[in-house]
Every structure is written in C-alpha cells, then in structure tokens.
Symmetry: C2
Subunit: 120 residues, 2 copies
C-alpha cells in the first residue's frame, strides 16, 4: 500500500528538523505518523531497534491499544511527517480496505524483529 500517495495532499504535514524527538517512550500520545520525507529512528532505552523511511508508519501502537508510547522516535534527518489522529485512523480502517492489513503487516514485522532481539 502506497501511503505516500494516500497522504501527499494531507492537511497535516509537519516538518521536523534533524535530531528532534518526535515522541518519547512512556509519554501519552495521540497521533500516528507517516514518514513522507527523511528518516526517523525507533529506540528503546536509547538503543535504536529500527528506522522508518518514506512511506513507513510510526506511532501506531498508541492509537491501537493504549495512549502510552511504547518506544521513542527521533528524526535522523530533517523530515516531513503526515499526522493521523484517532478519528482519521478509525476512518482509514473502516474505509480503506488495505490499510488494516498494512498496519497488521507493520506490527507483525516489528514483532519479528523484537523476537529476534529477545533471542540473540
């Protein structure tokens, strides 16, 4: 699913300079983000466990099962992110058939990486 195409005309595009902490583990959060430009890193306890590039999402967990961030996301470069709030998220799940499968895939991929980190 090409999220860059879906969100290119979003009204909620926000620029973050390199090194900005976009959100912090343990804090409340109410948005997920699509990386439109640049790169962000996802970290636990100051250890980077993944990066996200254009077309990839971050922050989705706070909209699914809790409003507490489970990781910290930082801008690695200057970047532009599209913001998705709870009601837009629910509307996408309902009206864009591929979107929920896409989010499921992202979660399953992250879980695989996490399980590998636990094992090694």
């Amino acid at each position: 699913m090409d999220l860059l195409e879906v969100f290119k005309n979003s009204d909620d595009l926000v620029e973050f300079p390199a090194d900005t902490v976009i959100f912090t583990e343990g804090k409340e959060g109410s948005y997920m983000y699509v990386v439109m430009n640049g790169e962000v890193s996802i970290s636990l306890n100051d250890t980077v466990i993944a990066t996200a590039s254009p077309g990839e999402i971050v922050g989705e967990m706070a909209l699914i099962n809790s409003d507490i961030r489970s990781a910290t996301v930082t801008a690695n470069t200057d970047c532009v992110l599209a913001l998705i709030d709870q009601s837009s998220f629910e509307s996408l799940l309902r009206h864009v058939p591929d979107f929920s499968l896409h989010v499921m895939n992202v979660l399953a991929d992250r879980l695989k990486v996490a399980y590998e980190l636990i094992e090694h």
Copy 2:
C-alpha cells in the same frame, strides 16, 4: 470481540492433549488458532513469554507476513483449538469489521510485552 462465540460451531475444532507442541518456531505454518478450551503457552528458545486462554488467538503472524512460525506454541493443558486457514483469515478480515482491529490489538499487546522483555 468474542471469538468463542464466532467459532463455537466451527467445522475445524481440533483437540490437543496436554504437552503437545502445536507448532514450532522456524517451521512453516498455514493456520492460526483460536483457543476454545484449555491453555497454551507461547515460547521463544524454550522460554515462555506468554500464555493464551479461551478466546485468545495464536499463530496469526504466519498468516500475515510470512509462513514461518516466529514462536513455539505448546498445549499446557488438554485443549481444543479452532483452526483458521489463510482464506478464512482473509475472509474474516474482509467481512467481520471488528476482526482486523482485534488482531491489531493482539499484535500491539504482544509487541508491548516484547519491548518490555527487551528493556528488562
């Protein structure tokens, strides 16, 4: 979402005696399962990271992003599981609106547990 209600009349209910290894990490798999009765454990490298009780699902990752099992699931007690194959899974995603949100919640919960294991 009450999966016990959804699957109680399933044609694919299978009984597993206690201690059966239902599937093994690293092997190919083509079903996910709803625990209808009893309890199963989910483990990585022989370490139990979670259990699943009636109404809970296991094995969903093999249907989402790969056919390789990312964990091992073992029957803790005699148990009855409902089998869901790839085409039933896709049909549930398409036709049962709450099912995809339910699966997303399960994945997000597992990811939270995994992140806590990585950090501690």
